[in-house]
């Protein structure tokens, strides 16, 4: 039993770190402007295709391609903020849910025409890695390492830089931040851009470990909902913890029962946490 459990736990932890990054953009945007970005999944899918197209057409190393995808994600996010989010920021929740979902429909509609819904994969191998009794692929280890680096960079950015502090100030109290001379619209646009960038980068990482279609983002969007609720909506560090929990569930549960029960457990847990601890497993009561 144990020799079966150990590889599952390692695999679960590795993918869990990536899941944390997948959800981080969603939770960051919610934390700062109280908007649930329903275009999160399609942006993840665009990140997948970014890395895939750069690698397949121009031979760019996927991990280098991530940098370009990150830049593209940032620009996309800023544009999306001004087109679809800015006007509905103070409207009821339904407005921002629907406007971001409209962007979702546009990306999926256009993406389906351009890329069809065939499976793609990034044909780039980093070989196998062995730690003691456990063997896994190099791509998974690399994905987890990159995800941890990005998380650390985000943390330092939010804590130590002037722009990061401005973002936290706007998240905390937009009116007071404006009175202190912080240009809140610009800060919000950049925050949204960073959220989209994180989603795109996480998509790029996922593309290096498994095949995908333009619709794959939807699956990860749903996973992100579970993760952000586990970790507390609006809490980027909580997302990492939520991702690890989800990764462990996906790693360990199939050892004991059929894989198809995993989503049942995930979503039941999701609804339960929302009901019992809406602030997340680690959040303080507000």
């Amino acid at each position: 039993m144990l020799d079966m459990l150990l590889p599952s736990i390692v695999d679960g932890l590795l993918i869990g770190v990536v899941y944390g990054l997948v959800a981080m953009g969603l939770t960051l945007i919610f934390g700062i402007m109280n908007v649930i970005n329903l275009a999160h999944g399609p942006i993840i899918a665009l990140g997948m295709f970014g890395v895939y197209l750069l690698f397949t057409n121009t031979g760019v190393n996927p991990y280098l391609g991530l940098l370009i995808v990150a830049g593209g994600g940032l620009i996309f996010g800023v544009i999306m903020y001004f087109v679809a989010v800015h006007r509905v920021l103070n409207a009821p929740h339904l407005a921002s849910l629907l406007s971001t979902f409209a962007v979702n429909m546009i990306i999926i509609g256009a993406g389906t025409v351009v890329f069809s819904t065939n499976f793609r994969n990034v044909d780039f191998s980093l070989g196998a890695v062995t730690f003691g009794p456990v063997t896994t692929t190099g791509a998974r280890v690399a994905a987890a390492v990159v995800a941890l680096l990005v998380t650390a960079a985000l943390y330092l950015f939010l804590r130590r830089t002037r722009l990061g502090k401005n973002i936290r100030a706007v998240a905390n109290n937009r009116k007071s931040a404006e009175l202190m001379g912080i240009p809140s619209s610009r800060v919000l646009a950049i925050s949204f851009g960073i959220g989209a960038m994180l989603a795109a980068v996480s998509g790029g990482l996922l593309a290096t470990i498994q095949p995908f279609t333009i619709l794959s983002g939807g699956v990860y969007e749903l996973k992100s909902f579970v993760i952000v609720v586990l970790g507390g909506l609006g809490n980027p560090v909580g997302a990492l913890a939520g991702g690890l929990i989800l990764g462990l569930i996906e790693g360990i549960v199939p050892v004991f029962m059929k894989t198809t029960w995993v989503p049942v457990l995930e979503f039941a847990l999701f609804v339960l946490i929302l009901l019992v601890r809406p602030q997340g497993l680690f959040g303080a009561r507000q």
């Binding site: 009821p92 849910l97 406007s99 429909m105 509609g109 389906t112 909506l233 059929k258 989503p263 979503f267």
Partner: protein
Amino acid sequence: MSAWRQPGLWLPLLLVAAAAIWPAFGNNASLRETIFTMLMSVALASSLNILLGYTGYVNFGSIVFFGLGGYLGFYTVSALGWHLLLAVPIGGVAAATLALLLGSAVLRLRGAYFALATIGINEAMKALVINLDFLGGPTGMNLNFSIYQEYGGPAQALWLTYWALAVITLLVIVVSYLVKKSKFGLGLMAIREDEDAAEVMGVVAPRAKTTAYVISAFFPGLIGVLFFFKNGIIEPESAFRLHLSVELLVMVMLGGAGTVLGPVLGAAFYQRLRGLLLTSELFKNTQLVVAGVLLLLIVLFIPAGAVGWLRHRFAPLRRLLE
């Protein structure tokens, strides 16, 4: 009853009844299919509107009731061999029961948290059904053709389904109107504007919200049975399709949330537009893009929807359009 003399009630009823009778002339089966989809959207959107428009709770997973009702109704027809008209109320009661059980817990959540929870409920139910072998698991269930004999052949069975849907759609509109005009409905709208203030004014918010939730779940449960009986096949992916839920939200927004006529017009317009886009050479592949752009424009510039905008703009219409 005086309600029948109000244009706010009979205008939508008349519109729906006229559309529903249309395919009966000349026994037109393809037209019947088109109107079936349209009526179904009208009824589902109007049910959603009771929670979304009147109460202000964004239900992103309203399709779970449609799927659950559809599954249980399908099971009673195909496995137990019951008559369709008996299976329909079973689907409705099942959906309403789920809403009653979940309601008091889920409706404590507000805003985005509620929306997320409804998505979670839908996904959990879909994942659960995939694991239930007696409901056919991931591949779902098929209807045996011999079942139609009880109804005098497939054609008769399809017409029966159609008329049942037409009656339910009219019923939904009547209920939607009565709720809006009742004291209960006023309580819901007070909750929408400010839940805490409504409670202070004596609205028992948890009970009112749960009742609205149950009503808005009951009708989709009924309709699910009819829809999947007509299709002859039910699968988890088609029964709990989150996308359809969102399309319903779009329809309600198009026509005007919180109005009786709005969801009717919104649903009819949306389905007509979708039909046109799907058959046009230019937009056949990009219909999702067009729908997305349209949705974005409406949310950004006419958030009150068509009926809301008309009521706001032309005061005399307020007596006509509810």
